[in-house]
Amino acid sequence: MEVKNFIENFAAQFDQTDASQFSFDTKFRDLEEWSSIIALSVMAMIDEEYDIQLKGDEMRNSNTIEELFNMVNSKL
């Protein structure tokens, strides 16, 4: 799994936030556009792209893209 690719896939779930705002250490919960629907989108993206089904609690406990990436990576 590529970091760059993961960040791009993550960013694709947002409509208003510019792609340049996303990096490995982005605290996505602080983004203005962040919402529970985007959380669901991110979980569905991870299922579709990486075939990993995150639990609701695992999503809730992640705060940065890096944490999420590591979580997915550990399940691959």
Binding site: L40, S41, M43, A44, D47, K55, G56, D57, R60
Partner: protein
Amino acid sequence: MYNPYSLKGKTILVTGASSGIGKAIAIECSKLGATVIILGRDKSRLNETLNQILTPNSQQFCIDLTNYEEVNSLIFSMPKLDGIVNSAGIGSTILFQFASIEKIKNIFDVNFFAPVEFTRLLLKSKKINKNGSIVFLSSIDGPINAHIGNSSYSASKAALAAVSKSLAVELATKGIRVNYLMPGQTETPLIHNDSITEEQLKIDISKYPMGRYGRPEEIAYGAIYFLSDASSFTTGSGLVIDGGFTLQ
């Protein structure tokens, strides 16, 4: 004792009886005197349900209702029925953009095609007695309201409500009635899944005017009304059992 809701002398078949609402319906039907035939996919959990059913001659069949060949041969060996409750179903939260045809089909296979085909085969083989009652488990989600991520699930449940009404008209002259239940959130294993956190559930519960979700038995009592002679003039009806949730 006078009881228009009695199911004494009736044989009732319940699908999805290994857990949740189906299990409660099977048990409550037996308490009201029905001989119960329970269907489910999980043999050990089906056994647990059967152990709580008191009426003699009650039977269980472990079957996957999406396997139509198996269903066909099972129906052949079925006794005549006075009522069926199609309660087998699955839940699924998936945002529309990710709801591929494959995923939608998966939900429709279990929630819509299986109960519809099962009912069709029972009718075709004349297994449902005159004055019989057919009950489908729909939902408030679909026929009445909506939730984020529930497009496929709610579409399958709205489709069941539509089939119930059409079938009610078609079967009226045969004296067979068709009705459907629309529960709100009910305390079953279906709602305690990994995609929803307990905290999210708590927030959702707070939106219910009665301050709680339904209990499986409370949905079962609705099924009992439809199965009993108390509803002999009721067909094509949907009953909302949701603690007032859809009133708001």
